[in-house]
């Protein structure tokens, strides 16, 4: 199980990565992340929505209200150009971190 501190740090990357494939509303976004990480990253409402609101303020994502075929209103989030720009360095940073940790583990066990 991944600890809460790491989860917080990776959650933004997960949201940006998933939204790169197309706009999603909150529930579907959380579900997609949970599925794609085999349940390692899962969100309560208290973790998901405050984060989405913060990311919206940072202009990495944009939420708009949309009405589905059955008439239900859903707020859909999509990646903004600023979010797309943020994604590459964020991915690189995390990849570097994981590579460093992997190397450290190899040294520790070698």
């Amino acid at each position: 199980m991944i600890g809460s501190g790491i989860k917080r740090g990776t959650a933004e990357l997960a949201v940006l990565s998933v939204l790169q494939d197309g706009p999603l509303h909150g529930y579907e976004l959380a579900r997609r992340i949970e599925q794609q990480t085999d349940g390692a990253l899962s969100f309560t409402l208290a973790a998901l929505y405050p984060m989405l609101y913060r990311m919206e303020q940072q202009r990495w994502i944009r939420g708009t209200w949309e009405t589905s075929a059955n008439g239900r209103r859903r707020r859909c989030y999509r990646l903004t150009p600023a979010g797309k720009k943020k994604l590459s360095p964020l991915r690189r940073e995390w990849a570097e971190l994981f590579r460093a940790l992997h190397q450290l583990t190899k040294v520790a066990h070698g």
Binding site: H25, Y27, T44, L45, A46, Y49, Y53, R54, R73
Partner: protein, 231 residues
């Protein structure tokens, strides 16, 4: 089937955002719960179990409300501090001072409980009114999204202000000493501060804190009972 919109509206009733923003948050969270519930039903879960699992998405409604408020107001940290601490704190201070003045005007006198070199004076009717003001301060702070710690600070705000005023007596005494050339006996000042500190800070502080703690307890119970109510 549960009315998710109504459920969210009730449980996040204290979300201190403007009406339109609050409605949007309610609608968005209700839609999330509705989708989750529909998914569980599609998977074949009975209604009661589906509701139970859907509500497990929110461990603590009060925490959710606070986090949403903080996230939405992140761009205005000063505004948040004013709404969560300064306004409720000053309200508690103003009301408690007005209450003291009114009681004195009505003829209620302080009771001397210890008559040593410096008497300890206690305004018992005023002290009895303080838990109410402490509770009010904590309540206003909580409704503005204040954490439990901030709500308690708002409830004891009057004694914090008085403590600051008391502590300022030392530098002010030194300035008076320097300006007038008269020697101030600081041991007398310290004794007076200690005695007054009990009557004006310690006991009123405990009374205000009692009110603040009661509100915290009630709000946390309300939050957990709301969680149990639907299932």
């Amino acid at each position: 089937m549960a009315d998710w919109q109504e459920l969210v509206r009730q449980r996040l009733a204290g979300l201190a955002l403007d009406a339109a923003e609050k409605d949007d948050v309610h609608a968005e969270l209700a839609a999330h719960l509705e989708d989750s519930y529909a998914r569980f039903r599609e998977e074949g879960l009975p209604e009661k179990e589906a509701i139970h699992r859907t509500l497990a998405h929110v461990a603590d409604w009060r925490d959710l409300q606070r986090k949403i408020f903080v996230a939405k107001r992140r761009a205005h940290p000063m505004k948040k501090r004013v709404q969560q601490l300064w306004i409720p704190g000053l309200l508690t201070l103003t009301l408690s001072m007005m209450s003291l003045a009114a009681l004195q005007k009505l003829g209620f006198q302080a009771r001397i409980v210890w008559n040593g070199p410096t008497a300890i004076l206690l305004y018992v009717p005023w002290l009895l009114s303080l838990p109410f003001f402490g509770a009010l301060g904590a309540c206003v702070s909580s409704r503005a999204g204040g954490s439990r710690r901030i709500a308690l600070l708002a409830s004891v705000f009057p004694v914090l202000a008085l403590a600051t005023a008391f502590l300022l007596m030392f530098p002010i005494g030194m300035i008076i000493e320097w300006v007038t050339g008269r020697v101030v006996d600081f041991s007398v000042v310290a004794t007076a501060l200690l005695m007054n500190g009990i009557g004006w800070l310690l006991v009123p502080g405990a009374a205000l804190l009692a009110g603040g703690l009661l509100v915290n307890l009630l709000l946390s119970r309300e939050s957990s009972s709301q969680h149990m109510a639907i299932g």
